[in-house]
C-alpha cells in the first residue's frame, strides 16, 4: 500500500517534468505537440546507452539526454512551426511513432524490441539511489521537479514568457511588435523537449531498463491530460495534474481491484477528461496562473464603463 503511494509520487514527479515542458508549448505558446513520449524516449535511451554501453555516470548523461531531446525538438519544429498549429500536431504525432519505429529497428544501438537492461543506479557521493528504496528516489525526483518548477516559473515571468503568451494570443500582432515569433516558438519547443528528455533520464534509472514498449502514444496523451486537467499556463497546476492522472492510473492497484478493472478503463477516462474539460472547464482545475499586477491590493478593478474623463 505504502509502496504504491510512493510509486505514484515518483511517477507523478517524472511526469510532472514532462508536463511542465508540455505546458510551455501548449499552455504558453498555444501549440499542440503530441510527442512528449518521443522526447521522453530519447532521454531514456540516451541515459541507458551512455551508462550501459559507455559506462558514463548518470549525472553526466542527464544534460546529454536533455540536449538530444531538445535538438530533436528543433529538428521537428523548424519545418512545421512556421506553419499553422494544426500541422504541428500531426507532424509531432508522426514523429513520436517514428522514434518508436527507430528504437525498435536500430538493433545495434538500441537492441531493438528487447531494450536495454541493467542500467546502473544513480549515485550521490558514492551513495546509491536505489529505486527499491523508494524514499531516496522520491526525494531525488522531486528535487528535479522543484528545480524545473523554479526555472519555468522564472521563465514565465520574464519577457520571454510574455512574448510566448503574446504569440499565443495573436501571432501577427506579436510579430508586428518586433517579436521573432519563429525563434520563440522553436525555443519553447526545445525547452519542452528538454524537460521531457531529463524526465526520460530519471525514468531510466528508476526502472533500470528501457524498451520501446514504454514510450507509446498513451504517454503523450497522459502528459497532455495532466496539463489540461491542472490548468494550461500554470506550472503549479500542471504538477497537480500530473499527480491526479498518476493517481487515476494506479487507482485499481491501490484499492486492489486491478483484476476487475480492465487497463482500458483508465485510458477511456483520460479521453473523457480531455473532452469534458474542454467543454466545461477549458481553463483546468486551477486555471491560468494569476496575472502580474501593479497593485496587488485592488485585485479586480471593475470594468470601467467608458470615458477617461
Amino acid at each position: 500500500m505504502l509502496n504504491f503511494v510512493l510509486l505514484i509520487f515518483i511517477y507523478s514527479g517524472i511526469y510532472a517534468l514532462m508536463a511542465m515542458g508540455q505546458n510551455v508549448i501548449t499552455g504558453y505558446v498555444g501549440l499542440l505537440s503530441l510527442c512528449q513520449a518521443g522526447f521522453f524516449a530519447i532521454g531514456s535511451y540516451a541515459t541507458a546507452i551512455l551508462s550501459v554501453t559507455y559506462g558514463w555516470n548518470f549525472w553526466l548523461t542527464i544534460p546529454i539526454a536533455g540536449v538530444l531531446a531538445a535538438l530533436s525538438g528543433v529538428l521537428i519544429g523548424l519545418p512545421t512551426l512556421r506553419l499553422k498549429g494544426d500541422y504541428l500536431a500531426i507532424a509531432t504525432l508522426g514523429f513520436g511513432e517514428i522514434v518508436r519505429n527507430i528504437l525498435n529497428n536500430w538493433d545495434s544501438l538500441t537492441r531493438g524490441p528487447m531494450g536495454i537492461q541493467r542500467i546502473p543506479m544513480a549515485t550521490v557521493f558514492g551513495l546509491k539511489i536505489s529505486p527499491y528504496e523508494k524514499w531516496g528516489f522520491l526525494v531525488m525526483v522531486w528535487i528535479f521537479v522543484l528545480v524545473g518548477y523554479l526555472f519555468f516559473r522564472h521563465l514565465a515571468r520574464s519577457r520571454m514568457g510574455r512574448a510566448l503568451e503574446a504569440i499565443r494570443e495573436d501571432e501577427i500582432a506579436a510579430s508586428s511588435m518586433g517579436i521573432n515569433t519563429t525563434k520563440y516558438k522553436v525555443w519553447a519547443f526545445a525547452l519542452g523537449a528538454f524537460a521531457a528528455g531529463v524526465a526520460g533520464s530519471l525514468q531510466a534509472v528508476f526502472t533500470l531498463s528501457v524498451s520501446p514498449g514504454t514510450f507509446t502514444f498513451m504517454v503523450s496523451i497522459m502528459v497532455l491530460c495532466m496539463v489540461v486537467l491542472g490548468g494550461m499556463g500554470n506550472f503549479l497546476a500542471v504538477i497537480l495534474g500530473a499527480f491526479l492522472i498518476q493517481f487515476i492510473s494506479y487507482f485499481p492497484q491501490l484499492v486492489g481491484l486491478s483484476n476487475i478493472i480492465p487497463p482500458q478503463f483508465k485510458q477511456v477516462l483520460f479521453g473523457l477528461i480531455l473532452v469534458v474539460m474542454m467543454i466545461w472547464r477549458p481553463q483546468g482545475i486551477l486555471g491560468r496562473a494569476p496575472r502580474m499586477t501593479l497593485n496587488p491590493k485592488k485585485k479586480q478593478p471593475k470594468d470601467s464603463d467608458g470615458g477617461e474623463k
Binding site: 499542440l32 506553419l83 511513432e97 479521453g271
Partner: protein, 305 residues
C-alpha cells in the same frame, strides 16, 4: 527496375493503396474545409465502422462462397457505413459543436480525447486481438500480362471510383452539395443565405465517416480488424489530404493516390526498408510543408489582417 510487368504490378498496388488513402482523406479534408480543424477521431470512426461491418457480415454470410456472400458483404459494408455516419454526427454534436466558438486548441484536444475513448472502448469491448474478415470471393490473383491482380484489388478500385464519382457529382451538382461548398467558403454568409449550417456540418461528418468506414471495411480483408487499425492509416490519409491541399476535395483524391504510389514505389524501387514504410508518409509531409504548404491543389490562404 525490372520489367514493365513489374512496374505495372507496383502501379496496381500503389493505386489500390492510394484509393484507400483517398477515401479516408476525403473525410479529413471535408471537415477541415468547413470547421478548420483536424478530426483526430476520424481513424477511429473507421475502426468502429469496420467492426460493425464485420459483426454483421459474420452474422449473415452463408458458408459457401457465392452470389449471396457478395451481397451480404456489401450489405454489411452499408451497415458499417450508416453506423459510422451516425457515430460521426453524434461525436460532432457532443464533442465539437459546443467548442465552435472556443479557442483553436479546444476542438483539437477534444478530438484527441474522442479518438482515445473510441480506440480504448473498442479494445475493452471487443478485445485487442485482431479479427479476421473473410473474403466474400476466392481471392486467388488473376494474371493479366504478367501482372498479378487480386479480385480484392479490383473490388477496392471499383468501390473507390464509384464513391468518388458519386461524391463529386453530389458536391458539384446537388443543392446540398452547393450549400456545403458555400458553408466552407464563408459560414456566416451561407447562414445569411438561408443555408442550415448545422445540418450541413452534420452531413459533412456523416459522409466523411461513411467513406472512412468503407475504406476500413475494404482493407480489413487484408489487415484484419483491430482497435488501433485506424491510427496509422488515418494519419497517412491525413498526410494525403495535406499533400493534395487540405480543404480541397479533388486534392484529397489526388493526394491519396499520389501517397499510395509514393509509398509503394518507395519500398519497391528506392529500397526503403519495409519496417520504415510508415516513415515515408511523414517525410512526404515534412517536404510538402516546406516546399508547398498549401498542397498541390490548395490555394495559398493568408490570414486576414
Amino acid at each position: 527496375m525490372g520489367s514493365a510487368a513489374e512496374f505495372f504490378q507496383h502501379l496496381m498496388n500503389g493505386l489500390t493503396l492510394g484509393g484507400i488513402y483517398a477515401l479516408i482523406a476525403l473525410g479529413y479534408t471535408m471537415v477541415y474545409g468547413i470547421l478548420k480543424f483536424i478530426n483526430f477521431a476520424h481513424g477511429d470512426i473507421l475502426m468502429v465502422g469496420s467492426y460493425i461491418g464485420l459483426f454483421v457480415y459474420n452474422a449473415i454470410r452463408g458458408q459457401i462462397l457465392g452470389f449471396w456472400t457478395i451481397i451480404a458483404f456489401f450489405l454489411s459494408m452499408l451497415v458499417g457505413m450508416v453506423f459510422s455516419a451516425v457515430l460521426g454526427i453524434a461525436i460532432e454534436r457532443i464533442a465539437y459543436k459546443p467548442l465552435r466558438k472556443a479557442t483553436r486548441l479546444a476542438p483539437l484536444l477534444s478530438a484527441i480525447g474522442v479518438s482515445f475513448i473510441l480506440s480504448n472502448l473498442a479494445a475493452w469491448m471487443w478485445g485487442t486481438k485482431s479479427k479476421k474478415l473473410e473474403y466474400p470471393f476466392n481471392n486467388a490473383p488473376l494474371h493479366i500480362g504478367g501482372v498479378a491482380i487480386t479480385p480484392h484489388q479490383i473490388l477496392i478500385l471499383v468501390v473507390v471510383i464509384v464513391m468518388m464519382v458519386a461524391l463529386k457529382l453530389f458536391i458539384d451538382r446537388s443543392r446540398m452539395g452547393k450549400a456545403m461548398r458555400a458553408t466552407s467558403l464563408d459560414q456566416d454568409t451561407a447562414k445569411l443565405m438561408g443555408v442550415k449550417v448545422d445540418r450541413i456540418i452534420a452531413l459533412t461528418f456523416a459522409i466523411g465517416s461513411a467513406l472512412a468506414a468503407t475504406a476500413g471495411f475494404l482493407i480489413a480483408l487484408e489487415i484484419k480488424v483491430y482497435p488501433s487499425m485506424g491510427t496509422m492509416t488515418g494519419l497517412k490519409a491525413f498526410v494525403a489530404a495535406v499533400v493534395g491541399g487540405i480543404g480541397n476535395i479533388s486534392g484529397a483524391m489526388v493526394g491519396g493516390i499520389l501517397l499510395g504510389l509514393i509509398e509503394t514505389f518507395g519500398v519497391a524501387l528506392i529500397g526503403i526498408p519495409y519496417g520504415l514504410r510508415d516513415t515515408i508518409a511523414f517525410a512526404v509531409l515534412i517536404i510538402i510543408l516546406l516546399v508547398k504548404p498549401e498542397g498541390l491543389l490548395g490555394k495559398a490562404e493568408k490570414e486576414k489582417v
